[in-house]
Subunit: 407 residues, 2 copies
């Protein structure tokens, strides 16, 4: 089993050195809903890495966490996160709130404030009542344990319908290494990060710089390849903390580093797919695969246009094998190809060959599309590059949720 990652039932806290906690601070409307989560590493030299939203209107916790990681050169020991309020578009007061939360957490955990990373998710533009968070911090810090992964996942949910966690274990050089992750998603999901948060912990021993490099690669193959509605949010954040307590060192270019990257990518893909599957109103997980493109950029363009097309996503919702909409989206994507050479299939069923209808059986095609996982594969026959993206169908549920989210 050496070097091979296996999924285990378990907790976010499984990696050696981590303790976690969740509580109800009263930020979410529903009283007694979990809305505050804390992840703490006991290891003094914990390495930290992050990828953030590219939104220019980045939220206060994003601005603060980015600054903290820079000032500590990638050393952080705690993540404090709330749901129910994004602390975005909240001006100076919002930044002060994020800073106060980080300071309060640091004081209780007896670590420097710059080693606390902050994340928020929820409604934009409403001042964050950080008094109630401050009041909840002492009890939260004293309840830290290794057994509350599911609660932490629940505490960061907004319109998510289920908590998202995943834990991996592998043997490297005879020693066990763990990677655990928790995520939330739902709306505003787009390839360059979104209202999604993901917190990943591991006990591998790794330098901050190498951890950041691994995270960039893993995020590029997972969180940056999903889309629910094309909206890139103000708060998207992926944090990774590495305690080093497994005693397995992932030095640059080492075999352990390679195995770690595989595991980090695997857990990121798992969490990313969970986010899409639980997209607002989503009933189906859709994989869009584009093959035979002239360039990697063309493959990516075509896949993104298809995955973001409302007409494709509603057709999937209605199990309508309307491949014309797929060809049409590829057509306006900017990718260079000849429509009269293009093949399209859904799962294993050919719908379009050389740009024309195959005369497929409608009832069978509809049954294929009734599955909870639908693969749309487009072969452009223009070259040898390919790309894949994950998305979901667009249903009445999305409209219902988003036409009434705030009021």
């Amino acid at each position: 089993m050496t070097g091979k990652w296996e999924k285990i039932d378990g907790h976010l806290a499984t990696p050696a050195g981590f303790r976690i906690a969740a509580s109800s601070a009263g930020i979410k409307k529903a009283a007694s809903s979990l809305d505050l989560a804390l992840i703490f590493s006991e290891a003094e030299r914990t390495a930290a890495a992050a990828v953030f939203t590219i939104n220019r209107a980045a939220a206060a916790p994003v601005v603060l966490s980015r600054a903290n990681l820079k000032s500590t050169a990638g050393r952080a020991r705690a993540i404090i996160a709330n749901a129910g309020n994004a602390n975005a578009a909240t001006g100076n007061a919002g930044y002060k709130a994020a800073t106060a939360i980080a300071r309060g957490t640091a004081r209780l955990l007896q670590i420097p404030a710059a080693q606390v990373l902050v994340a928020s998710t929820g409604v934009i533009g409403v001042p964050l009542d950080f008094g109630c968070i401050q009041a909840a911090l002492p009890a939260l810090c004293s309840s830290l344990s290794a057994n509350s992964g599911d609660e932490v996942a629940r505490a960061i949910m907004t319109t998510d319908t289920y908590p998202k966690t995943c834990t991996l274990r592998a043997q490297i050089g005879g020693k066990p290494v763990h990677i655990a992750g928790v995520a939330k998603g739902a709306g505003m999901i787009h390839p360059r990060m979104a209202t999604m948060l993901a917190f990943i912990t591991t006990d591998i021993l790794i330098a901050p710089r190498e951890l950041q490099r691994a995270l960039r690669l893993a995020a590029g193959a997972s969180f940056n390849r999903i889309t629910v509605d094309g909206d890139t949010s103000t708060n998207d954040t992926v944090f990774v903390l590495a305690s080093g307590l497994s005693q397995v060192s992932a030095g640059r270019g080492s075999r352990a580093a390679k195995i770690f990257l595989e595991g980090l990518t695997m857990i990121s893909v798992e969490l990313a797919r969970m986010i899409v599957r639980d997209g607002e109103g989503a009933k189906k997980l859709v994989t869009v695969g584009v093959r035979g493109a002239r360039t990697a950029a063309d493959a990516d363009r075509a896949a993104r246009a298809i995955a973001n097309s409302l007409l494709v996503k509603t057709a999937v919702a209605g199990s309508d094998p309307n491949w014309g909409r797929i060809l049409c989206a590829a057509g306006y994507s900017g990718a260079r190809f000849d429509p009269s050479k293009t093949d399209i299939c859904i799962n294993r069923m050919d719908l379009c060959r050389r740009g024309m209808d195959t005369g497929f059986n409608e009832a069978e095609a509809r049954r294929e599309m009734d599955q909870s996982e639908v693969a749309i594969i487009v072969h452009l026959h223009a070259g040898k590059f390919s790309a894949a993206l994950w998305t979901c169908d667009l249903t009445h549920g999305y409209i219902t949720i988003n036409a009434s989210y705030r009021t």
Copy 2:
């Protein structure tokens, strides 16, 4: 009134020299639905101009009409259009069908086949039964009259809920000049043309080259500034035919040319707004205005991101004054600005000032958003450029229509 355009109740055929007709050829599922339209100019030297979809998977009629206009250097005397089938993704057979329809029409009208422009709209990827169109052509051609504007508008409808026509009249140099237009839209509407068709006729005397130049300018300010769902279709076409029979000559740089451009832009904006107002499932016409951008491109980027954001469009559907989503969309648009200096208002109500909530009255804001026309105005305070776009809200109706369009 010289040089001033006024809207008149009337027909598409008002411009001197035009006769039109519509009939039911049996292409639409519903028997006896109008689905075939013909526009004919009696003037031998009729000038023609067009803008087409940029979709790489352009439909057969688009390919044929583009070739025809090129071969005649902008001279065409007829437009034959069908709804119910887009004749897109139909291979060589589709091109042959479009050619046969043009030839059949030309023979009956006794004009060269290259002077017939063809347009189709409807489902993609289904072979077009052009036999039924051929069979309907003789009766169609013999029923040409000056009084069937409304029927022509109906014959090109797909999921449109009402026919779209507009007629303008002005006095230029003491002589009356007319511009009449008919359009269809509904889904797949995006700034660079979409499932929309628009046919405009005028009796002004103008060279094809000048007509094409005027159409490009008018389309840039109208049809290319609307979006329903961000999907650019395979069939989008705007045709303009100018009979010259008003005897008013719009020579390059002349006052008449300037007045004509104003009228062409005005009718294009009217038709474009009708298309958006009747977007699939739409209940509201939304104008997105971005001001104070650093560059024209930045203004455009921000306006397009806001107008295409599903979260903004569902918030409008739910009359939710959730300005955070508007700021967020501007934030990921790529436009350079400082969110903490940004103002946002809906109609005349300030929701956000300098990036923060104004403490506005929720009930009042909701009432503003309950109007059938909603203006979202964003001031970036980063420069002096502005841009406007028209879109609609995203409702359950869109999902219902598009999850079941084909089957």
